[in-house]
């Protein structure tokens, strides 16, 4: 993203204000305007997350009774019995994000440099954004033995019965949902790479792969990484795709397990501990991605 030039008038106004001692009043008004946002975030985001951490140290649902039992046992349970769930979550997210990287980068490159019907692509790319629920449902139908995809899959020699409820299909479903995030990030970063630089490299005798390795990739990799990590963050929270497209091994993901623990077994302590683990994973990814994409969100 290019820095937006600050109009001179704005700078002058700022200098004037600080000179005449209105700086303090100005920042007070600013805080006043921010108050609704801050209150909502504290009440419905920060406090609940802090609360989740507290509940994760209580046994089962004792927190909701008069004398809660505090224990670190939930985390021990996760280490003893639920590490496969953590690994499945990470594995699925990694595979789906790599899929997005491999197939999304060429898509974004062609989109940014080669074609003119970008509006059409942008419009149709909206469908995956409506959510993984409808995607997974539609894919499920396509893959049914007598579904619309059957003749096509037969033609390719793929056994549809093996695809349904498999890891490949789960990863594909997850990747399809996050594909637009990857593409948009790469397109945004390619827009900052002047095509004349590529031309210059070619004119000076670089082969096309050299142009890519030496010019395009170094200039656009913050966007590529940001896209990859954004996909990764979304994919860590996967919930509905394994239910509809995955088998039992794929359904061992954290979101799904914590929902079952909380809503059907009322083991809020363990569910909260899983939530804290998942949150830690997601925030780590976000933190890394914000470090690399600084300014990409205009923040």
């Amino acid at each position: 993203m290019k820095e937006i030039p600050v109009p001179a008038a704005m700078l002058e106004a700022e200098i004037e204000q600080s000179k005449s001692g209105r700086f303090q009043r100005d920042s007070l008004v600013g805080f006043g305007l921010l108050t609704p946002a801050i209150v909502v975030v504290i009440l419905f985001s920060l406090a609940p997350l802090a609360y989740l951490i507290l509940v994760s140290f209580t046994s089962e649902s004792t927190f909701f009774f008069n004398n809660p039992v505090y224990t670190g046992g939930n985390y021990r349970t996760i280490v003893d019995r639920f590490m496969p769930h953590v690994w499945t979550t990470i594995r699925l997210a990694t595979l789906a994000s790599i899929f997005n990287l491999v197939f999304g980068f060429p898509f974004a490159y062609i989109l940014a440099r080669k074609i003119r019907y970008r509006e059409l692509v942008r419009t149709l790319m909206v469908f995956p954004l409506f959510g993984p629920l409808y995607l997974a449902f539609g894919l499920f139908y396509v893959l049914l033995p007598n579904g619309p995809g059957a003749p096509f899959l037969d033609f390719l020699g793929i056994d549809a019965a093996q695809l349904l409820f498999s890891e490949q299909m789960t990863v594909f479903g997850m990747a399809l949902f996050t594909f637009p995030f990857m593409v948009m990030n790469v397109v945004a970063s390619l827009a900052n790479v002047d095509p004349t630089l590529e031309e210059a490299a070619r004119t000076l005798g670089a082969a096309s792969w050299q142009t890519f390795v030496r010019v395009v990739f170094p200039l656009s990799w913050p966007g590529i990484l940001a896209g990859f990590l954004m996909c990764y963050g979304w994919n860590l929270g996967v919930y509905v795709v394994p239910i509809l497209l995955g088998g039992t091994p794929q359904q061992r993901v954290l979101s799904l397990t914590l929902q079952q623990k909380a809503m059907s077994q009322f083991d809020y302590g363990l569910a909260s501990a899983m939530g804290v683990v998942l949150m830690a994973l997601a925030f780590t990814v976000t933190w890394v991605s914000l470090r690399f994409s600084r300014g990409a969100l205009g923040a």
Binding site: P7, F23, S27, G30, F31, L33, L34, P36, I38, V40, V41, L43, S45, P48, L49, Y51, L52, P106, F107, I110, K114, I115, E119, V121, R122, T123, M125, V126, F127, F130, G131, L133, Y134, F137, G138, F140, Y141, G147, F179, M184, A188, P195, T196, E199, R202, S208, T211, V216, V240, I243, S255, L258, Q259, M263, G275, M279, A282, T286, L297, G298
Partner: protein, 287 residues
């Protein structure tokens, strides 16, 4: 400005002499590149088209609208409730985001960066984590407020989860907007509120529109946070679709409901692109 025109010209000339072997993908024939794009476009719409086709299928091999009886009947209430909630969330987001964006761009607030990233926290928390933590909070910490299994509880969850998506485009639009318009209005005698409503809000229109679009698409189709905190009496349409995939299994009425949800969302997106264009969606999830 002149720089951007120059680069646009350069890009245009690059496009004209396409296939000259400048770029790494130039060796791949142009046709194959188009085919690659079109395969993906097909994949994007395929789940929707398949769902739509299935919902129209009749037992005798023909086509019928029978499955849509469910959408017109029991599902209509959920749909109406979802649209109401989405509208309320949009209003809530606007009320919170416009002052906040104004403070961040036009006022000297110390610790701006820290505040902005704190405001975005719920955007990065996985939906299941948000749902569980809100469930606990509503039932215990905030039990003096009518939040459990209520419209207010859902609304608060949606607002806190989506208002950053409203905030960012408005911040971008407000940064693009020079102070001179505001200053001119003030010099000509308008007071603060008049200049806000007559000058700035109209000029911020596209930025605000982008936020409205994103809030709509996300809130209207949100089911996971809802699954944790909604009661039996306030089922949103998206949650109903999810519930149907679990209970009714793979039925035609589920397909009809899912197709309807996607159609409504898509029509809203199309209307937005037609009215506002996609300029202010840059740097967001849509462009």
């Amino acid at each position: 400005m002149s720089q951007s025109i120059a680069s646009r010209l350069a890009r245009g000339s690059a496009r004209q002499s396409e296939g000259g072997g400048r770029s790494p993908l130039a060796k791949v024939p142009t046709i194959l590149q188009h085919v690659y794009i079109w395969i993906w476009l097909l994949i994007f719409v395929m789940p929707f088209l398949a769902t739509l086709a299935y919902s129209f299928e009749a037992p005798n091999g023909g086509y019928s609208l029978e499955a849509y009886d469910f959408v017109k009947g029991a599902f209509l209430d959920n749909l109406r409730y979802s649209l109401e909630l989405t509208l309320m969330a949009i209003v809530g987001n606007l009320l919170i985001s416009i002052p906040a964006a104004y403070a961040i761009v036009r006022h000297n607030v110390p610790g701006k960066r820290f505040i902005l990233s704190t405001l975005n926290v719920s955007l990065y928390a996985p939906a299941a984590v948000m749902g569980l933590s809100l469930l606990i909070t509503y039932a215990y910490l905030l039990d003096f407020l009518p939040l459990t299994h209520s419209t207010w509880g859902l609304l608060a969850a949606y607002v806190v989860g989506t208002f950053p998506l409203m905030l960012l485009p408005i911040i971008v639009a407000l940064r693009d907007l020079p102070m001179v318009y505001e200053e001119a209005a003030r010099t000509l005698g308008a007071n603060r509120l008049q200049s806000l409503f007559r000058i700035e809000l109209p000029l911020l229109g596209p930025g605000i529109g982008a936020g409205i679009l994103m809030t709509f698409v996300i809130v209207f189709n949100e089911f996971l946070v809802t699954l944790f905190i909604a009661g039996p009496s306030n089922q949103t349409a998206a949650l109903r679709v999810y519930g149907l995939t679990r209970t009714a299994g793979f039925s035609q009425s589920t397909a009809a409901a899912a197709a309807t949800m996607q159609l409504v969302s898509f029509v809203v997106v199309l209307v937005f692109f037609k009215l506002v264009g996609s300029r202010y969606l840059k740097g967001t999830y849509f462009a």
